[in-house]
């Protein structure tokens, strides 16, 4: 009896620590976030007021939140496109294994491993409207300087630029590995089949690396939707809410205005959006992804 219990229980015993950590740090916070979204609470008072779905109702009519959603969407679309598109171009260029390209790989990858705070400070200096290097360069070309991070028109663009610059190396590296795993004789066969450069890219290369592209799209979308630190350091959502994103406003409601219930509501909505995104990606893209 004891023996039988051991043989059945052993696997569960072995995964128990991981499961405990998962329940404690993933499932429990999600559950309590859903619960908190039904209350009005300021985090300090011992009393929580149950208000049902009132937070959701309010959020639905919240003009600022709509702006936040739009900002997040713009940021996500352009940073994902920028990361993967530019990453693919760099990877295609670096595919040839030469000494120069091997050095270039590390150079392009470097920003990814530098801390975000340092990068943000570096770019704040580069983008400074008065003494920044970017505006100095523009002035040398007789183009009027831009208030990169300080004007509502350019702030989002600047943030996207910085984020793409930081993470494009990661995408390029992953795509490079995928490109190098495409057998060379497929390109030889394509050359004998008289395929043009474009046909080789669209009919051989891209389908062959589609699982990697799919993986990057999902990972980058989730990461972009959750953008926080960059905004916090560079713009704090300003100017005029032009760079206010979902997670940043969640943080503000929760930890600056102490409206935990409302912040939790934003969190729940964010979770629902991410889930929907992933499902839609899988349904739409899985047909175009070729797994070997």
């Amino acid at each position: 009896m004891k023996k039988k219990f051991l043989s059945i229980g052993k696997p569960y015993l072995l995964i128990a620590p991981a499961m405990a950590a998962f329940l404690l740090f993933s499932i429990y916070p999600v559950m309590s976030m859903v619960q908190l979204s039904l209350f009005d609470w300021n985090m300090i008072s011992p009393e929580k007021d149950f208000i049902g779905l009132a937070n959701y109702q309010k959020l639905f009519y919240d003009e600022d939140f709509r702006q936040t959603l739009l900002n997040t969407a713009v940021f996500t679309v352009f940073s994902v496109l920028g990361d993967i598109g530019l990453g693919l171009l760099i990877a295609l260029y670096l595919k040839k294994n030469t000494l120069v390209n091997r050095i270039m790989q590390s150079v392009i990858f470097a920003p990814y491993i530098i801390s975000l705070a340092s990068i943000s400070l570096l770019w704040m200096w580069l983008m400074n409207p008065d003494y920044g290097l970017l505006n100095a360069a523009l002035e040398a070309l007789h183009i009027p300087g831009i208030n990169w991070l300080g004007s509502p028109q350019y702030a989002m663009l600047s943030v996207i630029l910085i984020c793409v610059w930081k993470s494009v190396g990661y995408d390029a590296m992953i795509l490079l590995a995928a490109l190098q795993s495409v057998p060379e004789n497929l390109y030889e066969a394509a050359a004998l089949d008289r395929a043009s450069w474009w046909r080789k890219l669209t009919k051989v290369t891209l389908p062959m690396i589609s699982p990697t592209l799919f993986f990057l799209t999902i990972v980058e979308t989730i990461a972009s939707f959750n953008v926080f630190e960059t905004i916090q350091i560079l713009t704090r959502g300003g100017p005029q809410n032009s760079t206010d994103t979902i997670v940043f406003s969640l943080y503000q409601y929760g930890f600056k205005f102490y409206r935990i219930g409302y912040a939790s509501t934003i969190g729940v909505v964010l979770m629902i959006i991410m889930t929907l995104f992933t499902i839609v990606y899988f349904v739409l893209l899985s047909k175009r992804v070729h797994y070997q």
Binding site: A189, A190, L192, R194, P207
Partner: protein, 347 residues
Amino acid sequence: MSEIVLKDVTKTYDKRNTVIQNLDLRIEDGSFTVLVGPSGCGKSTILRMIAGLEPLTAGEMLIDGKVVNEVKPGDRDIAMVFQNYALYPTMTVKGNIEFGLINNKIPKKEREHRITEICETVGLAEYLDRKPAQLSGGQRQRVALARAMVKNPKVFLMDEPLSNLDAKLRGQMRSELIDLHRKLSATFVYVTHDQTEAMSMATNVVLLDRGVIQQADTPFEVYQKPANVFTAQFIGSPTMNLFCRKDVAPYLTAQLPEKVHKIGFRPSRALPVADGEQPQNSLTVSGKVLTRELMGSEIIYRLLSPFGIITFKTFNEEELAPDSSVTLSIDRHSMHLFDSDGQRVEE
């Protein structure tokens, strides 16, 4: 139909590693030419140079009298079957076969017609919508063939196309390729390290070693009159027995030219002699049977003779027991003679 000529071709990798030096080769129009040799002999490099996948370091490549050194692979009117087939894994069978046709801007109706025709020929009609991963090795081989055939090329290049198939299927594909060559009357250039494939399919055999052509002739001539020691030992199974003249001299009753240094003979030409018989004008030696391999219609023996191990082959059912004593005789006319440079001594 087209003739391929390589003139004084040299191929060097990384500026140091010369694989082929000053090679001259003429591949006849409509021939089934097999490039055969041990691995690293440069046979695949020659094929890839014909395809245009490797640039020539020096020399000229002519197809149909035109220099094609600078002509792109797709514009040479050739098709190639790769060793691992190089099928596009993300396309269906139909997609694979059609890809080259679309690139050549063949109208859709014509494409459909050609694909249907070819797929019936090679027996792929019911697999058109499958991906290569869902096919067996033999079926993939057929897709690769169909992809080459559908383009109607002047030249077919094949790089060890049968090496990934099992023995039975390989035999079957050999006869199908011979058939195909007869039907298409295109020039076939085929690379293999397997001398059986070379002998069974080729109309012309080009035997290579270390980037140098050892002999280029019909399979019959290569087998009957090997130009040198390398050819003699590469072609034929089991390999030819080869001994130094001075070692076998005491057992020799035949007159040989002065410059003969080595004597070779095929295992099938070493014949057991009945007791008391004294064959003249031959090499006659006795020894002990070491091993016996029953191959079905024939039996291969290894015999320990005073000057070394002799492989011989009999076609009769009567078996010689291991450890039994046998006297073998090789007739003077069955001997292949080579000089001290390993070249054939003509008589």
